[in-house]
Amino acid sequence: MQKIYYRANHCDGCQACEVACIEKKSFTKSLFMAKLEQPTPKARINFEKFDNKYWASICQHCIEAMCVGACMTGAMHYSETGEVVHNLEQCVGCGMCIMVCPFGAVVMLEDAKKVSKCDLCEDEKIPPCVIACTRRALCYCTPEDYENEGWGDGLAISHHW
C-alpha cells in the first residue's frame, strides 16, 4: 500500500498541495472556480503554519485507525490493501471520526452533512497534491520505500500495536 508522507524539512509553505486537492475535489475541477462553488470544496490536506514552521497533515491511513473504531456507521473501513476508506453513502456526518482522528485529517462537508478525508485519489496515477508539491515534501510511496530512502525515522514500518 502506498500512502502520502509529509516531510516538513522540505516544505516551503507554498500550499500548492491544498490548492491541488481543492481543485481535484471540486465540482468544476477548476482551481479558480472552486472557491466560488457552493458548497465550497474543502482540501483533504490541511496546511498549517505555526510558530514559523509548516505542516501539512493528511490522513495517515493508520494501521489501527481511530476513525474506523469510532465510526458508528461502518462508513470508515479498511480496504483490502490497507487504505482507510470512507464510504460517503453510509456516512451520516456524526463527527465521531473527527472527534478521534489525531491528525485532524477528517473534514466536515457541512452542506452534505457528511465528512470526507483523503482517499489518495485512487483514480490518479499520482495524487494531485503530491504532483503539486515541487519541493518533494509530499512523498507518495510505500512505508518500506519511505524508510529505505532514508526519509523516515523507522516508525512507518514498525507495526507497533
Binding site: C14, A16, V19, A20, E23, K24, F27, T28, K29, S30, L31, F32, M33, L36, E37, Q38, E124, K125, I126, P128, I131, A132, T134
Partner: protein, 694 residues
Amino acid sequence: MGLYIRPRSLGIISKPLERDDDLRTSICCLCNGGCGLKVSLDHEGKVQAVFGDRDNPYNKGKICAKPMEIVQTLYGPYRVGHPLRRINGKFERITWEEALKLIAQRYNHYSQENGTGSIVGITSKIGGSYSKLAHSIFSKLTGMANYGTGPICMESELKVRKDIFGNGSASSPLSDVIKSKIMLIVGNNCAQTKAGQFHWISEAKQQGTKVVVIDTRFTETAQMADRFIQIRPGTDTVLGMALLKIIINNNLYDQAFVSEYTNGFEQLAEAVEAFTLKQAADITGVPRNVIEELAEDLAVRKPGMLFEGRGIVCVNNAGASIRAFEDLMAILGNIGKPGAGIISHINNYGNARDLIPKKDVIKPDRKRSATALYQAMEEGEIKMVFIAGNPCVNWPDSRRMTQAIQGLDFVVSHTLFLDDSAMLADIVLPATHWLEEAGVQASVHRVLQWKDQAAATYAESRSGGDLFRQLAKYMGLETSYFPNSPQKAWELERTHNKSIEGITVERLRKTPGGVHFPCPANGQEAERLYESSLFPTPSGRVELARKNNIAIEYINVFDSPGNQGVSPEKYPYLLSTNKVASHYHTICQYSNWAQEMEKQPYVEMHPQTASELGLTDGDPVRLETVTGSLVLPARITFSVPRGYFTTQPYFGLHSPYRQTPVNSLFPVAVDPVGGNFANKNIMCSASAEGRAGQ
C-alpha cells in the same frame, strides 16, 4: 509550481534617454493598439531605441515589449535589404528594376494564359495606409484576389458583428471603459496582447468598474480581474446562452431598446432555452451561482462593455459564442452609449469608393474560400502568389501550405525578413518597416493617428505603396490612379470615403491621440458608433437572430470543424495556441530581447496532465494531431485546465528559434458561422518523447 504570470511584460513605462538629439514621434503599428511611441535615432538616422510617448493621451507613455524589440530586428541579420532572385536554389541579388520587370512579365503571362484567378495575394502584412491603398488599387486593376488577416485572425468576429449591428468594427473606444460599470473580457488576454493600453482597464477597475474575465486559462488579465471565470475550452457559447437566458427570463433586459431597435428577440429567447442552467453549469464548468451572479451584475451594472479576444474568435465554434455575447450586450441596451458597447481591435473605417472608373476595374475570375485556396494551389489552378506575410507559419496545416507554395510556378514575397515563406519565393522584395513609412494607424480607441516616417529607409527597401505603383507601371497598367506619397494617399482616400472625409493629415498632425471616426466632411467626429441608434443593417435594426432564424446554435467543440470524426480515444486532449506579450506574429522573433523573454516555445499543461503522461517540467513532449506532430518542452502550470495544451504560435524554421511551425498541427478547418480558421481547441494526443539513453 508553474507560472501564472509573466510580470516582465506588463505595460512597461519607459523613459526616453536624456539629451536625445533626434527624438521622433510615431505610432506603433503592431497589435492595432495604437500606442504612441518616441523613437530615438542615432547620427545615421538609425533607430537606437523606442519608448512610450508620454504625450500620447491614449497610452500615456506605456508600451509593451514588442515595439522596444524592434530596434534589434530592424538592422539584424535576417532583414532583407535588396531584391533577391532565386537562381538554382540560391538567392542572388538583383536590382529593383530587374525584379519588377520579371514580376510584371510573369503576372501578365499567367493572367492572360490562366486567368486572373491564377494569381492570388496572401497579404496579411501589407504595410500602412499608403501601402494598403496602393494594394487595393492594384488589386482592383488586376483582379487579384487577396487573403488577408481575416481568416487567421478576425473573420468570425467581423462577420458576426456585421450581421448583428451592420458594422464589424468596434462600437466603442477602449477609453470608454472608464465610464463603464462592468467590463466583460472574454477569451482575451489583453494584459499581454494590448499591454500598452491595458492601463485603461486597470484604471477603470480602480475607479470601480467591475472587471470580469472569462477564459480557459488563468491569464495575466484574469489575474487582475475582480472576477475570473475559468470556463471549459470551447463552451463559451453555452455560458453566453445561460446569461441570456437568465436575463431574458427575469426581464432584466432593456425592453425599450429591444422592442424599438432589434429584430429576432423571440428567436433568441427560444434558442437560449436549449440548456437549463444546470446543464450550462455542467458543460461550462462554471458553477450555477457564478453564472447567476454574473447575469445579475450585467443587469445591474450599466453601462457595461464587452471585449472579446482570439480566445472566442479563433475557435472552431466561434460564430455562436460571439453572437451570444454580442446579443447579450445588445439586449442589455449596452450599445451606442458612453461606457457601453463592444471593444475590438477591428477598426475598419471603410473603403474608398469610386477611386477607379468602372471600366478599369477587373474582378477576379474565380472566387475561393480560404480553405479552397490550399487545393487550388495544389492542383495547379493557381500559378503565382504574391506574399506579404508569412503563411507558411501562420496559416493552418503549415506543412501543407508550405508544400503548396513550393509547388507553384512563381512566388513573390514582399517582406522584412527571410522568413519561412520568403525562403520559398522566386523573388524576394525588401519591404519598409512601419517606422520607415508615414501613414495613418487605427487604434483600439477608435481613433486614427498619423505617424510621419520616423527612421530612414533601410537599404533598398520599398513600401507597398511604391511597389504596387511601380509594378503597375511595368505591367502597363494605368498608374495615374496611384498616389505617390503617404500624404497624398490619405488625402485621396479620405475624399473617397465619407466616414473619414473630415480627417485631414493636417488635422491628424495637430491632434495628439488622433481623431475619432466616422468623421464626415463637417469635421464632427463620432467617439462611438450607434449613438443615434441607427444600425447599418438592411433592416436598420440590431439583428439578434441569424438569417435562418436560429439565433444561436452551440456546437460541441469535439464535433466542431477540425475535430469532426477524430477519434477521442486516439486524440483525447485539446491543443490551442495563445499569444504572449513579447511576440507579434513573425516579426519579433528576430529580437534578442524577445528571445530572452521567451527562450523557446513550450507547451503549457496542467500538473495532472503532466503526471498522466509521466512528464516533469521541461521534459520533451510530442504533440500529435491529425495533421502532424511536434516535440516541445513541457511547462507545468495550474493556469491551464486539465487535458488541455497550449503553446505559442509564432515560430518558424527560418528564424532564430528554428521551430517547426505549430500551426502545422492545426487542420484547415473553419468556424461554420464566422469563417475563421481555428487555432484553438483542436483534438490532439500527447506522449513523453524519449530522450537519448532512455
